[in-house]
Symmetry: C2
């Protein structure tokens, strides 16, 4: 398991660094997805299923955590390229950290890189990483009121996945209400209810990803 120790970037403008990284990746036909959620919402399980369900897609994963290597080990066990980045206590990834992480990961022969951001509903929303898409996960056990409490995260998301719908019966969670709360923050953001464990509702997310891949993509 490879581990890279990152430091917060000292830069004049994170936004400018992020835009430069984004344009470079677009030119190279690589889709960078910034995957964000609170702790334990199922980011790694979602990536595991994505890797299994889309075997023809060349997926690599940049895992960001304060400590541990469990997530990168999970991804590597599936045969996908992965590296574990440690954020030196930082609650988010910035564009410079993302660039350093991508260089350590390697991006040759790659269609999609997922940046699994630090589990946190606040700070990661404040920093552009250079990703083309921000995918946000809210899980059923967290509750349908979260878009009210974490406004910026839901305003920045390009799509929202409602994960762990297989546990819906155990929790007091209203899908209609959470969609209304999300759309208060961003009127037109697509919301996909899914279960990364059972695979329920996963096809629309896979189609969404495939629609954003640079190269011609045929389902295997």
């Amino acid at each position: 398991m490879r581990v890279i120790e990152l430091k917060e970037t000292v830069t004049a403008s994170n936004d400018r660094d992020a835009e430069a990284l984004r344009q470079e990746l677009i030119l190279r036909g690589i889709l960078l997805v910034n995957l964000m959620s609170g702790p334990g919402s199922g980011k790694t399980t979602l990536l595991s299923r994505t890797i299994r369900d889309l075997p023809d897609l060349r997926i690599a994963v940049l895992e960001a955590d304060l400590d541990a290597t469990v997530d990168a080990e999970t991804i590597e066990a599936l045969g996908a390229r992965s590296i574990q980045a440690h954020t030196d206590g930082m609650c988010h990834m910035d564009a410079g950290m993302t660039r350093a992480g991508l260089e350590a990961l390697g991006t040759e022969q790659t269609d999609v890189v997922f940046l699994e951001n630090v589990g946190n509903l606040i700070c990661p929303a404040e920093y552009d990483t250079g990703a083309q898409r921000r995918v946000m996960i809210l899980s059923v056990p967290e509750g349908d009121d979260k878009p009210l409490k974490y406004p910026l995260m839901f305003t920045k998301a390009d799509i929202v996945l409602i994960n762990k719908i297989d546990a819906m019966e155990v929790f007091d969670f209203d899908v209609r209400k959470v969609e209304d709360n999300i759309h208060l923050r961003k009127a037109d953001v697509p919301v996909f209810p899914v279960s990364a464990v059972t695979g329920e509702g996963f096809d629309p997310f896979c189609e969404y990803l495939k629609g954003r891949i640079g190269r011609h993509f045929e389902r295997g």
Copy 2:
């Protein structure tokens, strides 16, 4: 519903401000508890049960969120004093913000004040709020690996509650493993498995609280 808009404190030393606040509250016989967890781990549900289960305890709650007033409304509906603090986008409470929040809340005729911190497993652990005790909640759906990924939070906690044990059957969660992972971070921290929804395992937590109250406390 009362709402106070807070700003980050400009101060020479947050640690010194926190210690001053702590000593003032100890002299006045008020227990301040800093309740921390990720988003949706059940902080408000836990407080609701605590208020119901300990009717003789004079409990007040300082709710901290980036936005919304849902939590303070929940507490107020139970008849407890509460105020909603908004953190101006900040991912944590500091000692000055806590002092301002307590002044707006009012602390006369109070045994315990719970500061329900912003839902976040990173930043709140970095700031001493002046509380005498840090109570941390990890919920079953978040997974038993979280102490590996969020080291400081589990190092700072005085007790850890494992909440949502009523949902244990739905999730792949090992209580023995999470206890081992927590004790890697802090060898002697007590771990209480509880369900704030069903009340299972709640008595030891109530006893813990009563043991730390300044005035003579008899169960009603």
